[in-house]
Amino acid sequence: MSKKVFYGQNDLRFLYYRYKDSSYYSIFVFAITFFVCMILVLNVLLPQIKNYFSIRKEVIAQRIKIKNVRDNINFISSLQRPELNSQLQTTSKALPQYQDFVGILNAISDSALSSGVSIDDFKFTPGEMTVESPGTGSMEDKDLSFMDLAVNIDGDIENIKQFLTEINEKLPLTEVINVDSKKESTIISLRFYHKSYPKISFKEDEPMQPITPEKTALIRKLSSWQNLQLENDITSTGSASIPLFE
């Protein structure tokens, strides 16, 4: 009998009846079932497992983000608004957005008053933008701007020392760049800093941190300088009796 068969419907039926009682039939059925199961595992089950775990991961991440947002809400609600406003005012006075000419003149005159020196004249060099080159100043910051001011003062070495101390404790913040003191007069170069407000970017799901105790202490120190300045402004008498300008 020829073993060559044609795979048609009758042929399949013939094959079925021929081999259904043999062990080959069971092995064949098992193989087919196993093959289908593998296809199901690879195309259905594994993607579903992957999907489930990614959803679980996303759920955990979302819960953390929601917790952070709620913590931020609680943190902001607990802030003392008057204190925050005062801190903003102090720090803006110390490092203003634009050049504070009135503040600069007040700082110089208050320092001169406190130290007992007289101011002859001064020269502004406004409008300079950093980046500073190393060695000329102390700051390297693309956003930090400054204006240099050369002040001609009269006084002995003790008064000049006192002036340098006083000017360092005035707002807006100053840096003494150069001191050139001779018998006749002293020229002091001062640098006043200012910085534009940055673009504020805030991620709501990142935990907000309070102002550190060190920064709070710094702001308190700046505020004391500011208060002292205000007191000097209030208690000082007219310029006619004080030889600040000659």
Partner: protein
């Protein structure tokens, strides 16, 4: 009935029985496999459908809205932190020439006055005057003292002259400040 007249081989019966056991086992394995895979698939489908993601998205939207009501305070806080960072940098890095001058004055003995002083870029040039050379000797001894190296990295004596009209001596130093 006598088994010897049977045409069927006794051995085949044994083989057939073994084949039945194996077939049953294979069938069981196939059924278990199918059942497990389909059950897992259904369970996973239910778990995915019932995930709390939509509810969490709603909660997050509500929380974001509440936080946005305080955006001015958030802006102020960020500004205060940013300003205070920069202020701290400025204060830490700026020159303290008053302290440098004070430290230098502390080593001057009696009878020496500062004629002129120039301070720039962490360098100090100072001219001292005295009626005698002895105080200058004291100053030079103090500079030679190792303790001063903590304040000054380099000290150079750049000049020594006598002013016969006034009867005084002048000495100049160039000092690199630390």
């Amino acid at each position: 009935m006598n088994n010897n007249i049977n045409f069927l081989d006794y051995k085949n019966k044994v083989i057939t029985r073994r084949g039945n056991t194996k077939e049953k086992l294979l069938r069981k394995i196939a059924l278990i496999l199918l059942f497990t895979i389909s059950s897992l698939s259904v369970v996973l489908f239910i778990l995915i459908t019932l995930s709390p993601l939509p509810e969490l998205a709603k909660q997050r939207k509500a929380a974001s809205f509440n936080l946005s009501l305080a955006d001015k305070d958030i802006g102020k806080l960020i500004l205060v932190k940013e300003r205070s960072d920069k202020i701290q940098q400025i204060i830490e890095k700026r020159n303290n020439y008053n302290e440098d001058l004070e430290n230098f004055q502390n080593i001057l003995p009696q009878g020496v006055t500062i004629e002129s002083v120039s301070m720039n870029q962490r360098k100090m040039s100072v001219e001292l005057t005295s009626n005698s050379l002895r105080p200058f000797n004291t100053i030079l001894d103090q500079f030679a003292n190792n303790d001063k190296s903590q304040e000054y990295s380099k000290i150079t004596m750049t000049g020594l002259r006598m002013n016969p009209d006034k009867g005084s001596f002048n000495i100049t130093f160039s000092i690199d400040l630390l």
